[in-house]
Each structure stands twice: as structure tokens, then as C-alpha cells.
Assembly symmetry: C2
Homo-oligomer: 149 residues x 2
Amino acid sequence: MEGSDYMTVEKKIEYISEILREKNISPSLQRIQIYKYLMENHVHPNVDMIYKVLVKTIPTLSKTTVYNTLKLFQEKGLVSVITIEENEARFDINTHLHGHFKCINCGKIFDFEIKELKIESNLEKENKIVDQQLYIRGYCKDCLKKMEK
Amino acid sequence: MEGSDYMTVEKKIEYISEILREKNISPSLQRIQIYKYLMENHVHPNVDMIYKVLVKTIPTLSKTTVYNTLKLFQEKGLVSVITIEENEARFDINTHLHGHFKCINCGKIFDFEIKELKIESNLEKENKIVDQQLYIRGYCKDCLKKMEK
DNA sequence: ATCATTGCAAACACTTTGCATACGC
DNA sequence: GCGTATGCAAAGTGTTTGCAATGAT
């Protein structure tokens, strides 16, 4: 729901609280703010990025809480973990299926659209799919231009 | 080339040496054995699994060498890194595009076939793709059966 | 008062780095 | 003999764990 951009802060907090309650998560300040950050910043942040931004408004915040909360969100299907980086987890609010491209030169990660994806029909029938991720690694447009010079 | 299953050890070593030389990698004992292991064991091993098996035949082997070698192979496009696990890298000989399913209950990882995949045409035109990975996380057939009971 | 949540500090595990030793042409 | 490859030990880094303090009902 992208209409959330136009909500007042209070309405947004109530909206997020409701999402959390639906998943049986009690809406604490920390949890609301972490969800709000992910909702407003589709930048595939890692734990440190989330922590550094939120600790400014919640000075007592600890990284453990960020870890705990993201793990909880993940278990409840609210966020998906992007493991395209080899050394750290990144997080994204669960939206429709889309791919992630990572530039192996500048490190940038961006989304791309998946138009069609067909896999073995048995896989979907026999197993229970929780999460799908398509990763592409390579050199991005901008880096290719710089390399030509 | 699956005919490699029927090769004598000597022929296989010569075959691997040639693959390495083509990529400007001097075929040392360690490098050959690591490549051979990946060629014969499509089990998406992590560094430790490779190390523990090979140290039996190469007692002086160190994990650093396994790390170095896999990084080199990766740079030269001989192996692809599977980052479906959140805490460790796994490795696979580069073959045709296929997906990896990871059971979030038992931890098993297995391959599946991708029948069709269409992404934004601009992505392929404008950027240079080096590696593609499709990951699906969920509950596998066997674990679902056990859960029913 | 009780149970859940938070957060500090220490422990863990995978990976990288620095540097000395050994190897190969 | 000289450049490359190897491997040990130490350091680095993201993440988890144990447990005490805090907060909510």
C-alpha cells in the first residue's frame, strides 16, 4: 500500500500497529519504527544501516533488538531476507516477486522486474514455498560506462 | 561433460589441468583436487566440507588455500557462489542455470529446473550479467510428511 | 506479580589479512 | 634465483546467546 506516503505519522503508526497485531506481534516502539523504516526506505538495508538511523530517535536502541525484530518479522513473513551479499543479510518488506541485481564493481543493489518465471511443476506441488529470490550479479550500466573511458 | 565419470584418474587430472590453464590458472595439486571435488560432488559444499574431505589426502592443506582457490575460481567464472544460506557461502561448478531450494526445517538444499525465465529486457541490454541465482526457501516434501504425523 | 521485551557483554563462526615458508620454471 | 602458491596465526566482522534490567498488563 503506497498510499502510506500521504499518511500522517499517527495514522501510519496505527496502520503499522495493526499489521503487527494481525501477525500476533505486540507493537512496541522499536518494532514499529523498524517496520516504518523498511516501509519508507526500499534500499535493502543491512542491520547496521537500520540501527544507525533509528538510534538517533531511539537512543537506547541496541543491535540485538534490531536482530531480534528482523528475525521475528522474517518468521511471520513480514520481511524477506536478501542474501545476495556474501557477508551480510539485507532486508526488504515483502512485496510482489522481483529480482535483485548486484554490481560486483560498485556494490549497488537494485530491483528489477520479473516478467515470467516457470519452474518444475512438481516443486510447487510437493514442497511448500515460503520465499523466492532471484539474484543477478554483474556490472551495472554506470560502471560499464566508466570502464569504457 | 558428464563423461568425466568414466575417466581414469590420470585423464581426469589432465582434463582439469587443461580447464585451469585455459583460465590462466596454474594447475597445482590443491587447485586440481578442489576442482575435482566440486566436479564429482554436486552437493553445494561449504568451505569446511571441502577442507575436511581433502585434508585426508593432502594433510598439509589449509583452509586459507581452500578460500583462496575458491575465490580465484569464482573470479574466473569456474564456480558460482550460492548465498542461500544466511551465514556461509556454498559452491557449485558452473553449469546451466538452475534453481536451489532450501528447506528451512531440515536445512537440505537441492537443485530444481527452471523452465522459463523472462526479465526486463533492458536489464540484460544495459548491464553485464555474470551470474544468476534463483533461490526458493520453504518446507521440503519429506519434512511436510513428517509434520502431518 | 507475571510475562514479554529490551539491551549489554561475551561468545561464536565464517572469512580475510600479514607474513614466513616452500614450490616451480 | 625469482615470482607464485601455500599455510599458519591473528585479526576482523556479522550474528547469536546468556542473562539482567526494564516495561506492560
